[in-house]
């Protein structure tokens, strides 16, 4: 079972391999140090109206895979702060939010490459329905000494109708000269062709749209490395999508 995420400090010890699954049901301020050579997966599923700060510091040759899913009802903001503090550190991010009527969701992801030879990649997905507003602010900071940095950011978003809004704000601050860095953002709608194809197979329009939306979200769920928890996240997404 997933644990409740509470404010405080955590450590992933040197060389450890851990998979941690959390429910974030209330605002919290969490800080995690990932020690040398540790490999960890953090799953965080948000459960309500909140504003939270989550910070990770990655030491030498450590690796963090973070999956953040916010499909709860209500307005929330999650600030994620990543420091790649020593060489060989790797960070992978997969995020998903769903925002519906009268709600707003913000994800602010700040990734700092402070030293050379680190890697980060981010995939953020947003789904907005009704008059919901979503925003992803993704900063990639590469310090002057952080040579041979690789940093990639993708923001892919789905608007379920015309009054929904998604803002996607990449912010690249690169002071080193030997870096591989890319970012991209797409805000689109469900493809009519795909809906038509599914209807031609006997699936009604609403079910087709739901399946396509679920499919869009599922790419993030597939990244989860805890089967039971993945099931729980999947159900949360399905439930939310059935409401909007």
């Amino acid at each position: 079972m997933a644990a409740e995420l509470k404010s405080g400090e955590m450590v992933v010890s040197q060389g450890d391999k851990v998979v941690r699954s959390y429910l974030m049901n209330e605002p919290c301020d969490v800080s995690v140090v990932v020690e040398q050579g540790a490999q960890c997966v953090y799953h965080i599923l948000c459960g309500g109206e909140l504003q939270s700060d989550v910070k990770f510091v990655l030491k030498k040759d450590s690796c963090l895979k973070l999956i953040l899913v916010d499909v709860a009802r209500g307005t929330s903001q999650v600030n994620v702060n990543i420091e790649l503090a020593d060489s060989g550190a790797r960070f992978e991010f997969n995020g998903l939010y769903i925002v519906g009527r009268g709600e707003r969701k913000d994800v602010v992801l700040d990734v700092k490459h402070l030293v050379a030879d680190c890697y980060s990649s981010e995939l953020m997905k947003g789904i907005a329905a009704e008059d919901g507003v979503g925003r992803f602010h993704g900063r990639i900071y590469v310090a002057q000494d952080a040579q041979r940095t690789e940093a990639y950011q993708q923001s892919r978003n789905l608007l379920l109708n015309n009054s929904a809004r998604i803002f996607t704000e990449p912010q690249l601050e690169i002071y080193a000269d030997d870096v591989k860095c890319s970012h991209g953002a797409v805000v689109g709608q469900i493809e009519d062709e795909a809906v038509y194809y599914m209807r031609q197979r006997g699936i009604d329009e609403k079910a087709a749209r739901n399946l396509l939306t679920e499919g869009f979200a599922s790419e993030i769920v597939w990244q989860i490395e805890d089967e039971q928890y993945a099931e729980q996240v999947h159900d949360a997404i399905e439930e939310r999508l059935s409401e909007i």
């Binding site: 062709e193 031609q200 329009e205 399946l211 599922s218 790419e219």
Partner: protein, 256 residues
């Protein structure tokens, strides 16, 4: 005994983006029949299939299309499908994030629900899916992949025939399912179609090439040109078209 009429199209006119494409089509399919529709590019073959399937991009102007005695132009896309009308797409659509097996299970069960039948259990569905995938020699692993995503051209076409085999339609419209296939793939597609062929069903093959018709011998061959069927014949017609092209027919038609 008279054969059941599956499809009856009379003087059908339809447009896309305000341009009239179908200019009065007459076409009838009775149970047990296989029809081939041939014709130069841009003559309206895909448009015809799309109008029958209910593609919302195409507008009906006049004329009728009855399927099993009912006006289908009034029916929703999904109800046409649930009534057993199947369109094999010329360009199958990719559906990222939706696995083949989820997609097909929903499709099969929606069809069953429509007919008042119980849904298939997971085990029944899996068995059916494996059987039918084997017929078109489609790798069972593809069933866990997203629909058509990253499928090769040939896999996409065989996937259309696989879906047809799953849904067992009363009327199958196959829009250039043979295009771009090598001889092996063509043979596989033909096997899938011939398996469906029966005294109860109708099959319409839209094709450019005679070669498919070596494997699936049609009862009738029609030539569609500028939105009209300008000539109908039997298998011999397709052989003649293969040798001589469409020009002689078009000249004859335009001199009238």
């Amino acid at each position: 005994m008279q054969k059941e009429i599956i499809l009856n199209v009379e003087d059908l006119r339809a447009s896309v983006e305000g341009k009239e494409i179908l200019q009065g089509i007459n076409f009838k399919v009775a149970a047990g029949e296989v029809h081939a529709i041939m014709g130069p590019n841009g003559s309206g073959k895909s448009t015809f299939a799309s109008v029958l399937a209910g593609n919302p991009k195409y507008d009906h102007i006049s004329g009728k299309a009855e399927y099993m005695g009912k006006d289908i132009l009034d029916m929703s896309i999904e109800d046409r499908a649930r009534e057993g009308l199947f369109l094999g797409f010329q360009y199958p659509v990719e559906i990222p994030g939706v696995s083949m097996s989820n997609f097909m299970r929903l499709a099969v069960n929606e069809q069953r629900k429509y007919r008042g039948e119980e849904p298939l259990t997971a085990a029944q569905f899996l068995k059916l899916m494996r059987e039918r995938a084997a017929v078109v020699e489609l790798d069972a692993k593809l069933m866990n992949r997203a629909v058509n995503s990253g499928f090769s051209g040939g896999e996409k076409k065989r996937n259309e025939i696989f879906q047809m085999a799953m849904l067992q339609p009363k009327l199958a419209l196959l829009d250039e399912t043979d295009s771009g296939l090598d001889i092996d793939a063509l043979r596989i597609v033909a096997t899938g179609v011939n398996n469906l062929r029966s005294e109860e069903n109708g099959i319409v093959l839209i094709t450019h090439y005679q070669r498919l018709l070596d494997y699936i011998v049609p009862d009738y061959v029609h030539v569609l040109y500028k939105g009209r069927i300008i000539y109908s014949g039997d298998k011999e017609l397709s052989l003649k078209l293969e040798k001589e092209g469409y020009d002689w027919l078009i000249k004859e038609y335009e001199s009238k």
